[in-house]
């Protein structure tokens, strides 16, 4: 019996050791000088959680505003509600998924077309077809609308032309007349994030300079002032982000002129150059040889190269003669790139000066993404960069981010907020968020 008692002490002692644990004392998270009780987010597809060429539930759930909103809850933030698709319609607009690799290592993507939230296609006279989605009713904190430009925020009919915005409004297209800015301002808030402005340059760039126009610099400055003045009218605080350099995204850096040419020369060593229809000045375009400074879009079907095209000069191979240049829509040529960069620089000057005048925090996405493109980034043992698929930052559409990318961006926003307002919103654990999903 006596030995049994001794054993009990030993076992109890060992269990006690098992229970000891070290504790690192951390300061209690603080809201600093800010009231985070109702945080709202304004922005476009990046804000909505768009990824892989579509808006779908899994992407919405890792949007950077939802991550920020969750982190804010430890410093007095309220519930952060997003206009989520239902689980029955979880695939939303549909999106791309990676289904394999070809023998040469190129990816195979397949469109997901089941469980969509599409309720119809509406032809709008003078505009075109608008895809309409299942309506969302309920509270909204994340006002991210894919496709929206700054120029749209005061445009009353916009709720009829953008299905993602129409989805949030009570009325049906084409009867809507609520501007985006009025819609956002309808319910009081205490803190905002704003990442509008990307599409004012990006839509032009991703269409190869052919399908859209750059928003006038003066108009951008005027509207940005209107926007921020309205948002801060009651003394609300906020964070804004700059417009990334469009050339920092894999959409423009994956398919390169030299890679295409190398492929052509493998089959036909005589081929000397690719030809593109390039911007000369103003709106004048002329064919010329492509250089490495011309950017080819990710969606260019490279199989078109060399296909016979009938011309007044006979049947000629596509893309390989001055008479059969690669179509404008597939190329952001050197002059178009310079033009876009000039506008982006101007937009960012506006964003930073308006933010400074209102005392707002700024996440300089332009500098951040350019830095990642040049140097890569290592976070918690994970190496990310701006390469398509392998980089881990950008999703399959080459423009929008992966969950890992959105989490990294969320931490950058949090850092900007904390630095500006002396708050200590906790950072999110990047390791919890994945990059591109592989089959």
């Amino acid at each position: 019996m006596k030995t049994f008692k001794q054993h009990i002490y030993i076992i109890a002692g060992l269990l006690l050791l098992g229970a000891c644990k070290p504790e690192i004392h951390t300061p209690k998270p603080s809201a600093g000088s800010v009231d985070f009780s109702r945080y709202i987010s304004l922005g476009n597809s990046l804000t909505a959680g768009y990824a892989d060429g579509g808006l779908y539930l899994a992407g919405q759930q890792v949007s950077y505003p939802s991550i920020i909103g969750k982190q804010m809850q430890s410093v007095g933030g309220g519930a952060f509600t997003q206009p989520l698709f239902s689980t029955a319609q979880a695939n939303g607009s549909g999106y791309l998924s990676l289904t394999g690799f070809n023998a040469d290592g190129t990816p195979i993507t397949t469109a997901v077309t089941t469980n969509l939230a599409i309720r119809g296609i509406l032809p709008v006279p003078g505009f075109g077809n608008v895809t309409l989605y299942t309506k969302y009713t309920g509270d909204i904190n994340n006002y991210g609308v894919p496709g929206i430009k700054l120029i749209h925020i005061t445009y009353a009919p916009y709720g009829n032309l953008n299905g993602y915005y129409e989805r949030l409004l009570p009325g049906n297209s084409p009867t809507n007349s609520t501007t985006y800015l009025d819609f956002v301002m309808a319910k009081p808030f205490t803190f905002f994030s704003n990442w509008l402005g990307n599409n004012d340059a990006l839509s032009y760039a991703t269409s190869g300079g052919a399908g859209d126009v750059l928003t006038d610099k003066g108009t951008f400055a005027y509207l940005y002032n209107v926007l921020i003045t309205t948002l801060t009218a009651k003394g609300q605080k906020g964070v804004v982000a700059t417009v990334p350099d469009v050339t920092s995204i894999p959409y423009f850096n994956t398919i390169t002129v030299s890679a295409i040419l190398a492929g052509v020369q493998k089959a036909n060593p005589a081929a000397k150059a690719l030809y593109i229809n390039a911007l000369v000045s103003g709106t004048t375009y002329a064919p010329r040889q492509a250089t490495t400074k011309d950017l080819i879009v990710l969606t260019f079907p490279t199989s078109m190269i060399g296909q016979p095209v009938s011309t007044p000069y006979g049947t000629l191979p596509y893309g390989l003669t001055p008479y059969t240049p690669i179509d404008n829509q597939y190329v952001l040529d050197e002059n178009e790139t310079a033009l876009t960069e000039d506008y982006v620089t101007s937009y960012n000057t506006t964003i930073k000066s308006v933010a400074a005048s209102k005392g707002l925090a700024v996440f300089d996405a332009y500098t951040f993404l350019q830095n990642v493109k040049q140097n890569g980034l290592v976070v918690d043992g994970v190496s990310v960069n701006s390469n398509y698929i392998s980089g881990g930052l950008f999703s399959l559409d080459g423009v929008h981010l992966t969950p890992r990318g959105y989490a990294i961006v969320a931490n950058q926003f949090i850092k900007a907020i904390n630095d500006k307002y002396n708050s200590s919103i906790p950072q999110v654990n990047i390791s919890d968020y994945n990059g591109v999903k592989f089959p």
């Binding site: 050791l17 000891c20 070290p22 295409i260 043992g381 398509y388 592989f438």
Partner: protein, 407 residues
């Protein structure tokens, strides 16, 4: 014709040997006295502490003991209030010694089997640093035959040959998600061996103070052909060929020690040890994979360890003929420079305290128990290679028990 996707990923296993792995548990009497023993003579554990002193042992010894080690680390990622803790797992360093020589002869033979380095760290697969390390189980067993010779009544020397058997089992997540979003996993598992030697000298001075000086050589443990197991999404498996093996060499550093024993009365022994550990030989850790691909390259991680030292002191009080009470403590500087701290053994300067109790159960039989508490100073670090940034804090609790038969 899209640009070939080269999935160049750094999957370098950031395996660190550090003083976190120098377990310093080689004899229960000595643990009780702050892990001193270079300049004192207690029992067969002198095979480890000072092979030069073995010939001075008045008796022959067979003894064995075990020290279950509770290693508890906490990590607080920078800018958060998260506490990531290692799982409750118990490592089991042990020691076994045999010392024999003819009665009152000038020589003695010894054999030691002990575990001077080892680690068992399990951070789990959901913590912030899972792409750096999930778990590590590392063992090094030294087998050391020893010869010691008494040159004079006041001086003896000795030396041993060390054969080391080491094994490692390391897992970490790979940042490549499958279709359900789960990350891949790497496991490096293998065993290897190494050789070394040690030597010591032991003096009894006229003033009664005893002095020991030892050198334990560096032991390079080479794992020539460990298994490199990578589970990644099926479409990427060809980039991580299976089966695959790796080779790596890890230096377990040389240690120079000097120790003193003082005997203020017949009841008291006071001991003092100073160790200098030549971790500075550890510059890089390289992993050489048998099958390389664009994604799986050999890795060479800088370690740039620095020389470390430790100061130890302890005392034994013979309360009765049968009962000895012991206590001690010490301080050890870290070998790991700022920027190189990894979660394998989040090393830092450390202090420790020990208690011990020895009891003579029968004429030839001693039982000794000890308890050690070790505290690694809180250390806030950003690792240069992984950019894992945060604060580590570690506590180690080590109870121990041994039996010694002597005649």
């Amino acid at each position: 014709m899209k640009k070939i996707l080269l999935l160049v990923l750094s999957i370098a296993p950031l395996l660190a040997f550090s003083q976190g792995f120098q377990v310093n548990l080689e004899g229960q009497k000595q643990i009780g006295m702050g892990h001193t023993g270079t300049g004192t003579l207690q029992d067969g554990a002198s095979v480890f502490f000072n092979p030069g002193a073995v010939a001075m042992l008045p008796e022959n010894y067979v003894q064995g003991g075990i020290s279950p080690l509770f290693f508890k680390s906490d990590f607080n990622p920078s800018g958060t209030s998260i506490q990531d803790r290692t799982a409750n797992k118990v490592a089991t360093p042990f020691e076994f010694y045999a010392v024999w020589g003819p009665k009152s002869s000038f020589w003695k033979l010894g054999l030691g089997v002990y575990t001077p380095f080892g680690g068992l760290t399990d951070w789990g697969n959901t913590w912030q640093g899972k792409y750096v390390l999930e778990s590590l189980d590392l063992k090094a067993i030294y087998i050391q035959p020893t010869l010691s010779i008494k040159l004079a009544d006041w001086m003896s020397i000795g030396g041993g040959f060390v054969y080391n058997r080491g094994s490692v089992d390391l897992t970490r997540a790979i940042p490549l998600a499958n279709s359900s979003g789960q990350p891949g996993q790497a496991e490096l598992k293998g065993s290897g061996k190494g050789y070394g030697w040690n030597a010591g000298v032991y003096f009894k001075t006229e003033s009664g103070v005893t002095i020991g000086i030892t050198h334990r050589s560096q032991v390079n443990t080479t794992i020539p052909s460990g298994n490199a197991i990578f589970s990644v999404p099926a479409s990427l498996q060809s980039s991580f060929p299976q089966p695959n093996t790796f080779s790596a060499t890890i230096p377990l550093p040389a240690v120079n020690s000097i120790g003193f024993g003082f005997y203020p009365s017949s009841k008291w022994i006071l001991a003092l040890d100073v160790n200098i550990v030549n971790w500075d030989s550890y510059k890089t850790l390289s992993f050489d994979y048998k099958s390389n691909t664009a994604a799986l390259q050999d890795t060479h991680s800088p370690r740039n360890y620095q020389q470390a030292y430790s100061l130890r002191g302890g005392a034994q009080y013979k309360a009765t003929n049968k009962l000895a009470l012991r206590f001690g403590g010490g301080y050890a500087s870290t070998a790991v420079a700022d920027g190189y701290v990894t979660p394998e053994a989040p090393d830092a300067n450390r202090v420790y305290g020990t208690l011990g109790l020895g009891y003579t159960m029968a004429k030839h039989l001693d039982i000794d128990i000890s308890f050690e508490y070790e505290h690694l100073m809180q250390r806030t670090q950003t690792n240069i290679e992984s950019q894992l940034s945060g604060t580590f804090k570690t506590d180690v609790y080590i109870p121990g028990i041994s039996l010694a038969y002597h005649w």
